[in-house]
């Protein structure tokens, strides 16, 4: 099938049975790839109310048409499952070189089913697919695991592995690849660990056929040309996502001490230029990327190397836990990567525990003797290790995420557990930033920024404005940006370099033989968005408006310092935003898609 690998690989870890199925034209037509394939298989195949860490949950890895092709940023694959952290829909996008290798092995999706009785890893070399004994790898860090498997099979093999965090089924465990890229959020690594699957070693040497080779080459080259001519290419490539640290600090979006403020007095030492000068040694790109955001760093103080930290980690394991030294933040990043836990959720959990400790709610006994004050770097490192090992009272508590931890501790800690739907909020403080607020509230995996990064829009139109245009903008972004997760590519060439998105249209047509305008793609994006909503409704009893609520911190506690000092969103405006959002989406007042909306989107068969 042009533009696709052509095969869905089904691996049952309970029985060891491996099945290859053709990717059907209907699947490609209706769901395109990536997270589209993910939600399709999840909805169709995983039984209702499945235990996310039970054998019936599936972990679905999907490429898309852009993956592995002559397309800037065609290096993203999507990992979909029922989330153990939230109990709802999860997908995590992973960069690096894995997705391209999948395509060259002829694979559009790998569906991991069941549970192995002992630790195994999945070996794929073109047609040869085997489950092999991983007892010697079990217990190793994700980085050592990758080193070992590359040593065994050679550099061309691409490796994805969990660390001890995934083995121990920490609810926000991640999957690591390429020494620093992750499928990070929602606990996809815990699901992999629950299947006793330590790693995947993957190699493919096939070519991907396209519908119109000449038009494909022309369109691909045109996209690269546009990227290279972009004004922002040089600055963006020099700093990657850290380019926004200073901006966030200045406008009050940098999460500081558990989101009590949006500007950090130690922020300047975390800015992109400081990091570039002090620790960065190499730009590290995902497959096919002309504007690599990955920065590989050497930490002299620790004698270590790490990819990153990127913006989110600087926010969550820097300012949000009170750390102001870039080497300390980078080392915390490395610990999370190697131990296999999501650095965003880890930072959120630690910041919550620090606040509770400083308020006297968590005792020193409950922190296993750690002096868990903001800014205590040793305590941050120790807590990361405890979480990954589920060790001691603190590690056990935090390994379940802030929502469960706060529920267990009580004593008002739920008011400052900064999560939505059970997922720790990523690194944008949203005091008086209503577009970003509604973006987080309605994001379909929990409080994650990547679906609709709307905070710049807040500044453009007035951050306290509660107007339909803001909501419309967020909805448009929620269809458009995740389309790159469907296409198996990266959005940053459009977001950061500002290239003309219409350049992708002839490329996709030349590859797949199907012409889709962005209007068509956004319609599919809307369909997928509604499908993920239906998945939540199906899995979570009583799911609706109450699950779309932000932390009260953002509408009851104005920051005392920084750019947003004294500013919050009015509580009534939070609900007004939701009303507007539901109305524009064609959902009822509890956030459930109306029948006519499902009809319009051809989703009636999935109605809950």
């Amino acid at each position: 099938m042009n533009g696709y690998g052509g095969t869905i690989l089904r691996v049952n870890l309970t029985t060891g049975k491996i099945i290859r199925e053709p990717t059907t034209p209907e699947l490609a037509r209706d769901y395109i790839g990536g997270r589209g394939f993910g939600i399709y298989f999840l909805t169709k195949e995983v039984p209702i109310h499945t235990d996310p860490l039970g054998p019936e949950n599936k972990l679905i890895i999907s490429t898309g048409p852009l993956s592995g092709m002559l397309a800037p940023g065609g290096g993203k694959c999507d990992w979909t499952c029922k989330s153990p952290l939230t109990g709802g829909y999860a997908d995590a996008s992973m960069g690096g070189h894995f997705t391209a290798e999948m395509k060259y092995a002829g694979l559009d999706s790998i569906i991991l089913e069941g549970r192995s009785s002992k630790p195994v890893y999945l070996f794929i070399d073109n047609e040869k697919v085997e489950l092999l004994d991983a007892s010697k790898l079990w217990g190793k860090g994700a980085i050592d695991t990758e080193v070992d498997l590359k040593k065994q099979y050679g550099e061309p093999f691409q490796i994805a592995a969990i660390g001890p965090g995934g083995e121990n089924q920490v609810l926000f465990a991640c999957i690591n690849h390429d020494y620093g890229r992750q499928a990070g959020r929602g606990g996809v690594g815990a699901v992999m660990g629950s299947k006793n699957l330590k790693a995947i070693a993957l190699h493919g040497t096939g070519s991907v056929t396209v519908a119109d080779p000449d038009a494909y080459r022309k369109a691909g080259m045109a996209l690269y040309k546009a990227c290279k001519e972009a004004d922002n290419l040089k600055d963006w490539t020099r700093y990657g996502t850290t380019i926004v640290v200073s901006w966030c600090d200045e406008v009050g979006a940098l999460p500081t001490r558990n989101f009590t403020a949006g500007s950090f007095e130690g922020g300047k030492t975390l800015y992109g230029p400081v990091m570039r000068e002090q620790i960065v040694i190499t730009d590290k790109g995902c497959f096919g990327c002309p504007c690599p955001c990955g920065k590989y760093s050497n930490l002299k103080r620790y004698g270590t190397q790490v990819e990153g930290p990127e913006y989110e980690t600087i926010g969550m394991l820097g300012s949000d836990v009170g750390l102001s030294d870039i080497q300390d933040v980078a080392q915390a990043n490395l610990l999370c990567d190697d131990l296999g836990i999501d650095s965003i959720s880890a930072g959120g959990c630690i910041a919550w525990a620090m606040e509770a400790y400083e308020k006297g709610v968590l005792s020193k006994d409950e922190t296993d003797g750690l002096d868990l004050k903001f800014g205590n770097v040793d305590a941050v490192f120790a807590t990361i290790r405890k979480i990954a090992a589920r060790e001691g009272k603190l590690g056990t508590l935090l390994s379940e995420g802030t929502k469960r931890a706060a529920l267990k501790i009580g004593k008002g800690t739920q008011d400052y557990a900064i999560h939505i739907k059970g997922m720790e909020q990523s690194a944008y403080a949203i005091h008086n930033a209503t577009a970003m607020l509604i973006s987080y509230m309605t994001c379909d995996v929990g409080a994650h920024h990547n679906r609709a990064w709307a905070i710049t829009y807040d500044l453009q139109v007035g951050r306290d404005k509660v107007v339909p245009e803001k909501v419309a903008r967020v909805i448009w972004l929620q269809h458009f940006r995740p389309m790159f997760d469907v296409l198996g590519g990266c959005r940053l060439q459009w977001v950061e370099l500002g290239i003309d998105r219409d350049l992708y249209v002839p490329l996709l047509e030349a590859m797949t033989g199907t012409r889709r305008t962005w209007e068509d793609l956004e319609r599919t994006g809307e369909r997928i968005w509604n499908l993920t909503r239906l998945y939540w409704m199906r899995e979570v009893d009583g799911f609706g408006r109450s699950w779309d609520q932000p932390s009260p911190r953002f509408y009851t506690e104005p920051p005392a310092t920084g750019a947003t000092a004294g500013q919050i969103t009015k509580p009534e405006d939070v609900q007004k935003l939701l009303d507007m959002y539901y109305e524009q989406r064609g959902w009822d007042s509890d956030g459930h898609p109306k029948h006519e909306t499902l009809e319009k989107l051809n989703l009636v068969e999935f109605a809950v």
Partner: protein, 134 residues
């Protein structure tokens, strides 16, 4: 003329290798490219890029005399004349002369200096210039 690479600027993205395979074989398959990126991770954290220097060693040893020079003086493989003897592969000082019958059954391959790799490289790690005199 030859291709030059500055490894310190390479980010390992492999766009060059996709463009290369498209030019040489009309296929999207970086395993069929004529330049190499060697990643050295997790330490020391660098990429090493290997490209054809147009030294001509391959042509010197080719018994079928199927490695010719074009009007620019650039070496290329006349694919239909290649006898797959592999003599050219070990003599390449940069290890960028390729033969792999499982990938390409009928010919060895090397860089033909088409320049597509340079066009897609976002970090300017590759460029074409006159050969420096030894």
């Amino acid at each position: 003329m030859r291709l030059y690479a500055d490894s310190s600027k390479c980010s390992g993205c492999n766009a060059c290798r996709v463009a290369c395979s498209l030019n040489l074989f009309g296929e999207t398959n970086p395993k069929k490219a004529a330049l190499i990126i060697e990643p050295h991770f997790p330490a020391p954290g660098v990429y090493n890029v290997k490209v054809c220097t147009q030294c001509g060693e391959c042509a010197l040893v080719c018994p079928a005399e199927c490695i010719k020079q074009d009007e620019r003086g650039v070496y290329y493989v006349v694919q239909e004349d290649c006898i797959m003897c592999e003599a050219c592969v070990p003599v390449c000082p940069e290890s960028v002369m390729f033969m792999d019958a499982s990938l390409v059954p009928n010919t060895a391959w090397e860089c033909d200096l088409c320049g597509d790799c340079v066009e897609v490289c976002g970090t300017s790690a590759l460029w074409i210039a006159e050969k420096e005199l030894a």
